[in-house]
């Protein structure tokens, strides 16, 4: 039977500004693209969904931005404390569809976190396009350099790397004609743009979506996205979807 895990926090770091990186002991295997559902502590009723950023035989790592009540509380845990974690949940990325040329991972802001573990599994040819608001918020560049053949950084204000959106870099990069698949995670405006670009170029594209969640396991049907005119559950049917299955019409 599946169950929740009480996981010991074995390391905690602060990356840029309000981004916390945690590593916990974890008894189950997980796939890139899956997420965990974490109890944040007293006074926070619902769990919070966070992507698996990396994992090994008996540990996993997740990285989160401190936003509201839940993530504030979660950030207060220290090494040696135990976290109540449900997971791994959801479906991983379809690595088997990466094609035989260059796979590309593309992420904006907190969307980059699930892509690190993914890039490890996609192989050494993988390239990454990572977007941030400004230079001070650029994180994990070296780690992605360790797993990818090339890392392209974009900042909204041009203070580091390319100036502009990740999708601008994507269009330029596609021009070479050697990209065989695209894996994306980020805000929905970015996802809609990536979907369109990939489909216009006829390249396999998978998206990892975010929606406000309840249970995380498919019982409450709140975290839906639109797929072929119907609402499907992000936690159970996703969070990874082939771009062609997702409608961004509203």
């Amino acid at each position: 039977m599946k169950k929740t895990h009480m996981c010991k926090l074995i390391s905690k770091k602060t990356l840029a500004g309000d981004v916390i990186d945690m590593k916990v002991q974890f008894p189950e295997e997980s796939k890139p693209g899956q997420f965990i559902h974490v109890s944040c502590g007293d006074g926070v009723l619902l769990r919070r969904p966070i992507s698996i950023c990396d994992a090994g035989a008996d540990w996993l790592r997740f990285t989160f931005a401190v936003r509201g009540k839940g993530t504030k509380k979660l950030a207060q845990y220290n090494t040696g404390d135990f976290l109540n974690i449900l997971g791994p949940l959801g479906n991983g990325f379809s690595i088997d569809k990466k094609g035989d040329k260059t796979p590309l991972v593309i992420g904006g802001g907190i969307g980059i976190f699930p892509l690190l573990y993914l890039s490890k599994s996609l192989g050494a040819k993988t390239e990454a396009i990572l977007g941030f608001r400004t230079k001070d918020l650029v994180i994990m560049e070296d780690e992605f350099k360790g797993t990818c053949a090339r890392v392209h950084i974009a900042t909204d204000d041009g203070s580091y790397g390319h100036k502009g959106f990740v999708t601008d870099v994507l269009k330029e990069r596609l021009a070479k004609g050697d990209i065989s698949s695209i894996y994306a995670c980020g805000p929905s405006s970015m996802m809609a743009a990536v979907k369109k670009i990939a489909e216009d170029e006829n390249i396999y594209c998978q998206l990892s979506l975010e929606e406000r969640m309840g249970c995380g396991i498919g019982i409450c049907a709140v975290c839906v996205c639109k797929s072929k005119g119907e609402y499907v559950k992000v936690c159970q049917n996703g969070p990874t979807f082939d771009s062609k299955e997702v409608d961004f019409d509203d």
Binding site: M1, K2, K3, T4, S39, V44, L45, L46, R47, K69, G70, L86, E211, R212, M213, G214, C215, I217, G218, I219, C220, A221, V222, C223, V224, C225, E230, Y231, Q236, D250
Partner: protein
């Protein structure tokens, strides 16, 4: 051994723990976390005659000690339920309660008729706050409550539970109307209509603008209503609203509930129902109670 068995309108539940509709889907996911035989009954997600798409997301917001939801009765329709979900649930030694939520009286009658005795009990949801037609519109008017109960009852091959809305001035009046219409049991409460606004964007959190409040925040309201209703009827009551622990179960039973349903707690912890059941048994044990009936309606009112 403590006697946990309770009777809802002639249907024997091996213990008083039921899942609240809409917080358990149809049991498949949770069956990977524990054996559904542990439950007194499974109450399934709302059923409508045709598949229903539900409301636009976001459909959930967290509030102090509670949640707001605006799912809007998304379900795959009656035919799918009968073909796939009933056979699945029948593999488990537990009772099945079908929560029916048609938009019209006729639709509810049709669903009840087609379900026949394939389920053990039917729960008529006259209290959903998240849909435009039907739902709470039936359950806030005593005349309509009586009428719909009577008509659906005529089409029921199994006992009928009417699920009451807390969004009324006097729930006793609605409970009486359901009883006069021929209800065999009452369940309460459904969610309380609520709203949350993001002060930065000035937009409601829910795309539906409003939603139904559930979880610990509603418990005192629900306990009060269970107590009020139990004071005016002898029909069995299924109490719910914010149950998170074994002591919460005891509280509802003391107020007059014969059984209870656990909702939001399932969203927080997939094993909530069995955890709560264990705690409830401990409570009975510690208080030297060897039959749950000893605590039903046993509140000592001032």
């Amino acid at each position: 051994m403590i006697n946990l068995e309770v009777d809802i309108a002639g249907v024997k539940l091996k213990n008083p723990i039921i899942t609240a509709s809409g917080t358990f889907a149809n049991g498949r996911e949770i069956s990977e976390y524990y054996d559904l035989c542990e439950l007194g009954a499974v109450c399934v997600k709302a059923i409508t005659l045709e598949p229903r798409r539900g409301n636009k997301p976001p459909r959930i917001a967290e509030t102090p000690s509670g949640i707001l939801n605006s799912v809007g009765l998304q379900n795959a329709g009656l035919a799918y339920f009968m073909k796939y979900e009933i056979p699945f649930l029948r593999k488990y030694d537990t009772k099945i309660i079908a929560n029916i939520s048609g938009c019209t009286i006729e639709e509810n009658c049709e669903i009840a008729k087609r379900l026949g005795n394939l389920v053990d009990l039917i729960e008529l949801n006259v209290s959903c706050p998240n849909v435009k037609e039907g739902g709470v519109a039936f359950g806030t008017n005593p005349k309509i409550t009586k009428e719909i109960t009577k008509r659906v009852k005529e089409n029921c091959a199994v006992p009928l539970i009417v699920k009451l809305s807390p969004n009324v001035t006097d729930i006793k009046e609605i409970a009486k109307a359901a009883e006069e219409g021929g209800a065999d049991a009452l369940s309460l409460i459904n969610t309380i209509l609520g709203m949350q606004i993001d002060v930065n964007t000035r937009r409601p959190t829910l795309a539906n603008n409003t939603g139904g409040l559930s979880g610990p925040a509603v418990k005192p309201v629900a306990v009060r209503m269970a107590w009020e209703v139990s004071s005016i009827t002898d029909l069995p009551i299924i109490g719910m609203g914010g149950i998170m622990s074994g002591e919460d179960v005891a509280e509802f039973m003391l107020a007059g509930a014969t059984a209870v349903a656990v909702g939001t707690a399932n969203l927080v912890n997939p094993t909530a129902c069995v955890d709560i059941k264990k705690e409830f048994i401990n409570y009975l044990d510690e208080n030297n109670i060897d039959d749950v009936h000893e605590i039903i309606k046993a509140v000592k009112i001032f």
